[in-house]
């Protein structure tokens, strides 16, 4: 019984094309780039040392902005785009 369920689950899994994998990797790669940057230049993340910092130094923190862009792309753009890509690949 267990084996049957496993095969059903396997059958439902749609293999992702190279293009779908490329799109799904854009957001995470961008976020990782921001994270690596934060480790390499921690002084550019002023939230780590917020005392005596003005508004702009706390509001605009490049490594965090890069991470945010990656996360927003991965959450808001990539899923729908991958669905549409897979639909298009199935259609034609």
């Amino acid at each position: 019984m267990n084996a049957e369920l496993a095969s059903q689950l396997k059958a439902r899994t749609i293999p992702r094309s190279g293009r779908a994998r490329a799109v799904s990797s854009l957001g995470p790669l961008t976020s990782v780039a921001g994270l690596v940057w934060a480790f390499v230049q921690p002084y550019r993340v002023t939230l780590l040392h917020p005392h005596d910092q003005g508004f702009w130094w706390l509001f605009v923190e490049p490594p965090l902005l890069v991470m945010l862009v990656g996360i927003l792309f991965a959450v808001l753009v990539a899923p729908g785009l991958i669905d549409d890509l897979q639909d298009a690949e199935r259609e034609g």
Binding site: T30, W56, F59, V60, P62, V77, L81, A88
Partner: protein
């Protein structure tokens, strides 16, 4: 309350990164798939247009010199022109695909403005170096903008165009108001403050 110039550069870098990711995704999946959802078709041209609108306050508040003001206003105009032309094409108000050449014009004008408005040499300080590099990058990348206008669906031109925005974002993120470049910092530039 006015942000330091470097912060403005970083905010625009974030905008260029958004544009770069959207364009890269469009290059990967193709225009037909990208435009399957209407909002996505408007995403990058609309974003470029809004970035052009935000260049106007930059022009008004950052008046270091006349040539800075002229350069900022040129960027605002060509960014709005490029975004507007692409919006017109997506909406169907513009039908001739050669309207895409507006982006090439924007690249060329922006690159020229960057090179012309930077009065110091490459190794004066980091921002001078980056202005020269940004300018020549944009002038060179005009090839991609022209290519995607005349040869539709070319992966080479589309991905080159997208990666140009990513490169511009990286260069803008590197900008500092006063910092050395490869160990060079002119004594005329002043002392690095941070």
């Amino acid at each position: 309350m006015q942000p330091p110039a470097e912060h403005v550069h970083w905010m625009f870098a974030t905008g260029f990164l958004v544009l770069g990711l959207c364009l890269l995704a469009e290059a990967i999946v193709g225009q037909e798939v990208w435009r399957r959802r209407r909002w996505r078709a408007y995403l990058w041209p609309g974003f470029a247009f809004v970035m052009g609108v935000f260049m106007w306050p930059v022009m008004v508040f950052f008046t270091n010199s006349t040539i800075h003001t002229l350069a900022h206003s040129a960027w605002a105009q060509v960014m709005m022109l490029a975004g507007g032309a692409e919006l017109g094409l997506v909406r169907g108000k513009l039908r001739n695909p050669l309207w895409r050449l507006c982006v090439a014009v924007a690249f060329l004008v922006s690159g020229a403005a960057l090179i012309i408005h930077e009065q110091n040499g490459w190794f004066f300080q980091r921002s001078a170096f980056l202005h020269h590099l940004l300018g020549w990058t944009m002038v060179g990348a005009t090839v991609f903008a022209v290519g995607r206008a005349v040869r539709r669906r070319s992966l080479f031109f589309e991905s080159g165009f997208a990666l140009t925005f990513v490169a511009l974002a990286v260069l803008l993120y590197c900008d500092r108001d006063l910092a050395p470049i490869f160990g060079h910092l002119s004594p005329l530039a002043g002392n690095p403050h941070r």
